[in-house]
Point group: none
Chain length 229, copies 2
């Protein structure tokens, strides 16, 4: 798998441990938060590919976390709860959740749902994980990039940024959206940071970094990865 990162938010430490063991065994990497506050802290400095949210938390609810998350991020969310009422399920979906799994659930079922949502969100048959534009090829499985067949060394951030741009090829993306998607939903990096990373990408991928052909600036908005083909 692609080494996707999953955040587990649940105050049941034992259950969380079992879940994270299981998911890591299946090739995911995980982090864990026991409270909403802890979740926000973790989400401030890293980015996740899927979030598993318990609804009952000591200091808040999963719904509330999801609601705040959705203000800046479209990261996939699965709610989990012992509350099984239909109203809860509906609230879950309407808050912006993607799935709702009633407790208790088996690890097998959780895994199936996680896989299904990952598949839906990050692409089908993308086992090969090939993307690209112009003379640039991106392999998401190996996280490598090649320009004209020659390997280009990108840092982690550079790769994430490029991958996001490429997934949204030919769409102008606002700076703040780009930051929340690449740095994490609640990250607070300066806008200039994004500019600098864009600069590095251009340096590594454009023939003339000062007048880019692919990674273009959209004034007063953000950036766009243009690929005519």
């Amino acid at each position: 798998m692609n080494n996707k990162k999953i955040l587990i938010v649940d105050d049941d430490e034992d259950l969380s441990f079992i879940i994270s063991e299981m998911l890591e065994g299946c090739g995911y990497s995980t982090a864990h938060a026991s409270t909403a506050e802890e979740a926000f802290t973790i989400l401030t400095d890293s980015k996740f590919d899927l979030i598993l949210l318990d609804i009952n938390l000591p200091d808040s609810t999963g719904f509330e976390i999801c609601r705040q998350l959705r203000e800046t991020s479209s990261v996939p969310v699965i709610f989990a709860s012992a509350r099984t009422s239909e109203d809860d399920r509906i609230t879950g979906f309407d808050t912006g959740g993607d799935d709702y799994i009633p407790k208790p659930y088996s690890m097998k079922e959780l895994l199936s749902r996680v896989n299904a949502l990952m598949r839906r969100t990050y692409g089908f048959g993308n086992e090969s994980g090939e993307m690209g534009f112009g003379n640039v090829k991106i392999n998401t499985a190996s996280r490598t990039v090649a320009k004209d067949g020659v390997a280009v060394n990108l840092t982690q951030r550079e790769f994430d940024l490029l991958e996001y741009l490429c997934r949204n090829k030919n769409t102008a993306i606002p700076k703040d959206k780009l930051i929340s998607e690449v740095w994490g939903a609640f990250s607070e990096v300066e806008p200039s940071t994004l500019t600098v990373h864009i600069r590095w990408l251009r340096e590594k991928l454009e023939d003339d970094p000062a007048s880019p052909v692919y990674i273009k600036t959209v004034w007063k908005l953000g950036y766009i990865l243009e690929d005519k083909a």
Copy 2:
């Protein structure tokens, strides 16, 4: 734009009717198949944006339909069934399904799940779309404009102005209205500013900016974007 098509595959005619009534009431359009064979026929001649699959069918199973579907398509699938065993749910997800909803379910819950999956698949409130007039194409997603297939560079204001004119194609818009819509309700820019921006648009989009064919002046009122087609 938002008129997504949903195929309902279920041999319970009454239930299917209620579902389709409800979904259509919510702005979706629907089609219905009672058997797997019928489903394949319908899927042969038209494309759907989401498929609701009952698992028990007289001549086959929903799983089987999904399996065949997935050989060529990544259309979102929701399974529905009175079979509630965990194995069934897991089979559903592993066959390539995106969600599994146990029968009986309420219309409210079904709608929530349909909406959630549509949102995940087709984007979050993306009002991205194509507009245009004459030989000019406007792409609101990439915020790009092309004349005769050739990209034209517009500034932010120019784009906003053009977009507003185009959304109100063939309608004469008073100057002050145009200013408050494009510059903001309480803006206090001089009327001449609008004139100048109109001029720039004409320069970039009209063959002869001095005698415009599309962006016309309406004396003593404002401007109009005319598009005969």
